[in-house]
């Protein structure tokens, strides 16, 4: 039986235009909407894939405001068992703070009788892109950690993890309990069924608070670089533009022989 904890973060939809709040300190997601980072959606799918066949559980945890319940319930809708919300203003927290808050929640769950064989996080959040929460968490929990994982398989007390490396797919065999950060691409995203949505609405979400003192992220301001005006040269339309395109390729010296 493999129990998995998956950490998800509520982020402004990264596919939309980036609009900043009036104070220039946050991305205003009211127009683009909010979502879960792509890597974390993959982490939820992997967690369900690992836990379900073994009869284990999947807990979705988010550190954030009341609004983050939406992302927790989205995880439950695609197969997670239950949820945890660590209530905090995520914008005031740095990556070390988030790792501490998650570690504290893992400890509290363990004290209550629920232990996690595997903790999965996204490789990096779509908004802050810190690339470090999972690694910091692993040190706090004293567990091995692998970053950039795309597939996970568990047999007994060993997890086999695949991650893309510079020369190909790197395979790890890690003793459980462990931590892994997930990169999308190794598992198909899961979409909620009507039944899943119904279950998510009713599912129990435990609320916790973090007792630590935030160190913060060091953020002083955000800015959105202005897009330069278009300077595109249209070479033509359809296949008749091929000679002009090839002339450009030759000019750029990318055609050999």
């Amino acid at each position: 039986m493999t129990n998995v904890l998956v950490c998800v973060k509520r982020v402004p939809d990264p596919t939309g235009e980036v609009v900043l709040t009036a104070d220039g300190l946050r991305v205003d997601g009211r127009f683009a909407g909010y979502t879960t980072s792509a890597h974390e959606e993959a982490a939820v799918a992997l967690a369900v894939q690992v836990a379900e066949p073994s009869g284990g559980t999947v807990t979705v945890l988010s550190v954030g405001s009341e609004d983050s319940l939406e992302q927790v319930r989205a995880g439950i809708a695609v197969g997670a068992t239950d949820g945890v919300l660590v209530e905090a203003d995520a914008d005031l927290l740095g990556p070390a703070d988030v790792a501490e808050a998650v570690a504290q929640a893992v400890g509290a769950r363990a004290d209550a009788g629920t232990t996690y064989d595997l903790v999965l996080l996204g490789n990096d959040a779509a908004d802050t892109g810190d690339f470090q929460v999972g690694v910091r968490l692993a040190y706090l929990l004293d567990r091995p950690v692998v970053a950039g994982v795309q597939t996970v398989a568990v047999e007994g007390d060993v997890a086999t993890l695949h991650a893309e490396g510079p020369e190909g797919t790197e395979v790890y065999e890690v003793a459980l309990p462990a931590v892994a950060t997930v990169l999308e691409g190794g598992v198909a995203p899961k979409y909620p069924s009507v039944m899943g949505r119904m279950r998510a609405k009713k599912a129990e979400v435990e609320r916790m608070t973090w007792s630590g003192t935030p160190g913060g992220s060091g953020r002083e301001a955000l800015s959105v670089p202005e897009a330069p005006p278009s300077q595109v040269t249209v070479l033509g339309e359809g296949p008749t533009a091929a000679p002009a395109l090839v002339a450009v390729l030759r000019e750029l010296k990318v055609v050999h022989a």
């Binding site: 470090q132 893309e164 020369e167 999308e184």
Partner: protein, 318 residues
């Protein structure tokens, strides 16, 4: 005061992003430039380091390091930092660079700023870093005693130093703990050549998006990439639909490329995709929609269906 740069080795030389990181670190003017490499440095890596102005190259050749383990690499970076008395450690903003630096940060209780594109001041350390996949910039302070930065790929050119460095090789003795090796690569399933390995360092990338129409719509893309000696890159929708493998994905959640030429076919050019290809020297878009962001942001464009344009281009190339 000195700076240590983690150098990653690719195909026998310092990787492109490592050379960029060396140039970036040197430009900070923060004292002696040191580099650290895991394994014995090939001659080409030494040459790259000399050209970049490296004074000392710390080399860790423990057999236990032959297979990648991020914690062990972090122990090497820590040892190099101590040997160089560094107060700034910079890594390439690659998956590996960020992972190793995160381990150093966790082990030492230090701050780490990822995907930095500029340093505004060294004391206090104030940086600009990419957030939201490069669509926004964050100004942030890094108040650690030793500061850890990863540099966003392709934020600077890998320019040589005005005066080459000595790159004196200094063997590094690293005391590895069993815990440093408990998450170690057990084997590598190598990719075949020609399947877009090395996408991040490719000089030419031929990209395709939803306009390819399906998994069978890449024949001309593959042929053109091969004809130009380049790699194939795809948009996120292509991998999400399972048409092509994820390692070919360009964008916020894929590879960041900086080729001399990016030929983007049937790609609309979402913010996420742009984050991965904005460093291309020249962009040519082939798209049916003249108003698509990829077209308006490109240097050159052909308005048309990639399935008609690319075969004509291949024919013209002969």
């Amino acid at each position: 005061m000195s700076v240590v740069v983690l150098v990653e080795v690719e195909e026998g030389r310092a990787s492109l992003v490592s050379r960029e990181t060396l140039a970036f670190a040197r430009s900070l003017g923060a004292g002696d430039l040191h580099a650290v490499v895991v394994g014995a440095a090939p001659e080409a890596v030494l040459a790259d380091c000399r050209e970049a102005g490296v004074a000392v190259l710390h080399e860790a050749s423990d057999p236990a390091l032959e297979r990648y383990a991020a914690a062990a690499w972090a122990a090497v970076v820590e040892a190099a930092g101590r040997a160089a008395r560094a107060d700034l450690v910079v890594a390439p903003g690659t998956g590996r660079g960020n992972e190793v630096l995160a381990h150093v940060a966790a082990r030492r209780g230090l701050r780490m700023a990822a995907n930095v594109v500029a340093v505004e001041s060294l004391s206090p350390l104030v940086v600009q870093r990419q957030v939201v996949g490069g669509a926004a910039l964050e100004r942030a302070t890094v108040p650690s005693r030793v500061r850890l930065l990863s540099m966003a790929g392709h934020a600077v050119d890998p320019t040589p130093a005005d005066t080459p460095g000595e790159a004196r090789v200094q063997p590094l003795a690293v005391a590895l703990d069993a815990k440093d090796l408990r998450a170690q690569v057990v084997r590598v399933e190598r990719r075949e050549r020609g399947d877009s390995s090395g996408l991040a360092a490719a000089k030419v990338v031929v990209g395709a998006g939803r306009g390819a129409g399906g998994p069978d719509g890449f024949a001309a893309v593959d042929a053109l990439a091969q004809r130009l000696g380049g790699a194939v890159g795809v948009s996120r929708v292509v991998t999400s639909l399972g048409w092509r493998p994820h390692h070919e994905q360009v964008g916020q959640t894929g590879s960041r490329i900086a080729p001399d030429l990016y030929l983007a076919c049937g790609i609309s050019g979402s913010i996420q995709h742009w984050a991965g290809c904005a460093s291309s020297r020249t962009i040519i878009a082939v798209n049916t929609d003249a108003d698509a962001p990829m077209v308006t942001k490109a240097d050159y464009a052909v308005i048309g269906d990639m399935h008609e344009v690319l075969p004509a281009v291949l024919e013209e190339l002969g």
